[in-house]
Subunit: 353 residues, 4 copies
């Protein structure tokens, strides 16, 4: 098939590469000419403007947007007038599912088909394939099947796997085993991707908290502060361990219950840098974690783990600062307590920054 | 009555003052001679050693320990051999209730009565009186009633209140209305005080989080970072408020549901220093919050609020540093994301330190 | 002053009563004629329709809406066409602050002044007075001062307190000490009320968790289940306490750090019903707790305690059911574990329902 | 090698099977004769008493305990007198690491070597191999290498993998890649296993919460309760999705960031039973999750995600019942609110029980 790709950042460029490798023709555009040139060298067709891109695509056209969430609206405003009824617009970025619902309706009035594709896989996706969570009209999604098969991991597995998957009663089931899925109407793809990222935050935080507990398991070796307001560690003899985190993360990858792709990542990172000293610990969040919580709240679904994971990221960026000042002020007011600046047993990103 | 007081810090000294004001005779000791002298000037009898203290008390003696949790064990080892069967030892500090159970049993073998008294009230207690949560043998606690009445807030209210309280069917009920209570056997006083402090942490954190949300309600006025990994604030028009925190804390003190003694404290602190700039936000914890959680875990009682409050204090001291580095390392490993050091919208204690 | 009141439920009726007691004239309307009649008997002027109400008020009129959040929009649509430029509309209910911003702008185009008043105090407010958090135009709020003074607790204190409060440099400061405050532009009143309720949820949960820990402190007396998957209680000797919760809640009210109006409530409830057996424990939430979290998320402010409190309420209503089924299914899948229906040591509201 | 196995439950029996398959001789004992007979039929040597077992093992003996945590102490008391200096005792169950430290010291005084082996893998371990986290004396652990290689997953991979792994500079690194690791002194194995399980709880809860959010994404289709105390869903149009959870769990297994062994488990369970109707949702916890939190508290390491996961399990068993009653009682006391028994949008295990 023929696909126009707008946005050739890390994700957009790799998707083009993978599509090209699977025999699809990509017409590519980016605000940076060098990004276009790089993919031209790998077989894509460059387009120095959106109008040029549209002119190089045969109707009905498929145009994939892979731009930052903050610029999707503007890019849609530019590309839409250039398209014709029957064309398909894919938003593959990290958009809010509510925008997907709205955009699907707005574009539908112009007879342009909107498809929202939540895309997971990161920088590994070029080789591994991407997990694609898709929302939109059923027949439009079916029409795009060749593209999704090329991008999803199962597409690498060759005819045997295809055949085996094909024997399932349900097309959705087969698709899911490839690694792509039509999840429902407009916005469904980004809804499922949103929850995926919410889970991701929770799993990452679980691993991070656990490794931190192992890291500080030598606390019994260190002298403790003593004071009227500080309780001594009751059993220092239990915390005398110097754990080798790279090996522990590695052993968990083999046969344990927490074996996971995320654990693979941190095992790799720890192997090269056991103290993770190149990271200060200011952890960003990209939107989906927040929206997952908002959905949970709207639905009255308890999400204590997902929220704790999100809030830890906020705190890692110092956003709990004033709340902590309030606590210290109250302690001073009722107990006359002055702040004790404890020397953390591990170098803290916060006190270093 | 006659009371020996060991430990003349903030709490010990004020307890002596309040007992003295209510006509009790206090024999006082501290490792700092100046602390003894100060209370002698206010009517207490000084003792330059534990042996001297014991010699100045008539049997059966009542000795109150008000020393840091870390030194209770050592002080007990020194005083116990000087006491006689029938004497009473009170631990009024922040000891673990498990130690109270053990100490009660150990001292009981020597026919010395042990009483654990959880003491709440802080620096306000001298005037306001203390809330006393008491564990030990019933008749011993009854014997000490005059002391507890002098220290508890209700003791200020004079005969009318005494009479009114006395009309209750239950002595415990009357005592509770004074502000002291025999909670149960050895350790019961410190158990109840422990849970009190656990609740205190949760209430403080609730107030602190709420004020932080008000503080940052002007975020829509500030330029936001934009990037592939950062979601823009969807509705900056909703966050244009410059709230006057001192007045808000004050208004809540009058007729609201969250009217509380802790709110009084923060309202006072904010009045003098609206930005709380004298506090860096390194929040200590003194033991009871931790033990409360351990009890919850042992009992299989969910305590998500109390634990979140405790963990926020740990994080305020940078103890989440390595966990955050793990998160950044994972994000880099799967997404190629580099850390973005966001400029916090309020001065953060962490990035300042 | 003259005030029209629409909505004579618990809160609306008591506000009318308090205004009437302070010499203000109230014209009252409700969809239930009996509610109108009841207040007529207490001195209010009844109005059987909104048009009648408007006709009985002199311009510039002040109309106060005290209706459920779900019906504010509809009521506004009915009353607005009846009003004239210069009239004032007050929304005293539990509306979202975002609606306040919108309504302020919409009504402003018709030269009708909108004022949002977050009202705290509950059924105690009639006697105690209400804490009023107010948003809107400064001069309009100033114009309404006599009403707010009548409703706020400080209004009970008479001329001495008025005079003392008046000596403060800032009008806002004096107002806050009365118990009402102009918090800022449209929506500010409901924003501050929203955060107030968020804090309320957190404080309530802290108390509830603490009391639950005390309640189950006798767990060591009960036989424990034993099995490959269940860890035995390591130290049953530490959990042998039968705490008298009514007395403990009472003693905390006298001199403790957690002394609070909420603690007063639960102490009263426990006194009459120590097991709280009339309550099943299905805890509602009314919106503000949710919106507080959404604001925290928008602002990137960590709110782990406020979120834990909200999510506990969701769980109390069984909203965690499917998540728990997922956990059991995973445990069965990887460990072959079958569910053990533990006999809870306290009667559970959930298993009773 | 020759290994004595005490305890032939699910885990013990499968470990015997895997050892036998790899050419080791197992002498097996259980209190249930049928369990012994079953393994005799598969090549193991049965022993109808501990004394018989010991007599059938050549010194220095290796005896592996695979019994419930609650019976380890008793079993150790029975087997120890039968052993000789130089023998090795392995505790492979879910013991507390503190017991491992103590037992290592106690047995060491008798010149019996104690090794604690945290064993992860569940019922899949027979085929997949087990992840083994090991504590004890270095040379003793080295001596047991053939056993650990047989049990760990890497042992299946044949000489190529062995050779490749062997080329690593560190023996620990090679071992970790097999799936076993000497983590440190006595207790280290159970400490690392404890944290593993803590992480497991967190990851499970993240998945469970996410699936629950997807499950209830149709809430906008259902009529909402309306009342003074209940906020209406502001945007029902956003929650109209009927997500197919089995397919979504499946698609996430292919190329996503949350691809994990736990996700494989729930995808399998959902495939056969999309509503998970065979599970009531009473989720047990086996000790390690609790101990992980206790370690975090002792170390002052924040663990908000791990604690939220644990507390959700407590709540699933109704342990939050009294706390919820307290909340309802407070709401009634201050607002006159009566409980509204909301009809949950999904069948709740709690209200069904």
């Amino acid at each position: 098939m023929q696909v126009g790709m707008i946005g050739l950042g890390r994700m957009g460029a790799d998707i083009v590469r993978r599509l090209t490798q699977h025999g699809h023709q990509c017409v590519v555009h980016d605000v940076r000419p060098a990004a276009i040139a790089a993919l031209e060298a790998e077989g894509a067709v460059g387009a120095d403007s959106l109008a040029t891109m549209v002119s190089k695509l045969s109707a009905p056209r498929t145009v994939w947007l892979m731009v930052p969430a903050a610029t999707v609206e503007e890019t849609l405003a530019q590309i839409t007038p250039l398209l014709s009824p029957g064309d398909i617009l894919i938003d593959g970025g990290n958009s809010h599912f509510r925008d997907g619902i709205r955009r699907g309706a707005e574009l539908g009035q112009k007879q342009i088909h909107f498809v929202d594709v939540g895309t997971s896989g990161g920088i590994a996706g070029l080789k591994r394939g991407y997990c694609l969570m898709i929302g939109g009209e059923k027949d439009v999604v079916t029409h795009l099947t060749p593209i999704f098969r090329a991008l999803a991991p199962g597409g690498n597995d060759g005819p045997e796997a295809v055949k085996a998957a094909g024997q399932h009663a349900s097309d959705d089931r087969a698709a899911a085993e490839y690694g792509y899925l039509h999840c429902g109407q407009h916005g469904a793809g980004h809804f499922v991707k949103m929850v995926h990222n919410g889970i991701e935050y929770g799993m990452m935080a679980a691993i991070a908290e656990g490794l931190n507990i192992l890291k500080q398991a030598d606390i019994g070796k260190h002298a403790q502060e003593v004071g009227a307001e500080i309780t001594p560690l009751r059993n220092p003899e239990y915390y005398q361990y110097d754990f080798a985190l790279p090996e522990i993360a590695e052993v968990w990858r083999h046969g344990s219950v927490i074996d996971s792709w995320l654990l693979d990542r941190i095992a790799g990172a720890l192997r090269g840098d056991p103290a993770l000293s190149q990271f200060a610990g200011h952890v960003s969040d990209s939107g989906e974690g927040r929206w997952t919580l908002e959905a949970a709240i709207d639905e009255a679904v308890p999400a204590p783990v997902l929220s704790a994971a999100l809030f830890s990221r906020f705190s890692s960026r110092g956003q709990d600062g004033f709340a902590n000042q309030v606590l210290s002020a109250m302690r001073h007011a009722f107990g006359g307590h002055h702040e004790t600046v404890a020397k953390a047993s591990v170098p803290s990103s916060k006190s270093d920054s």
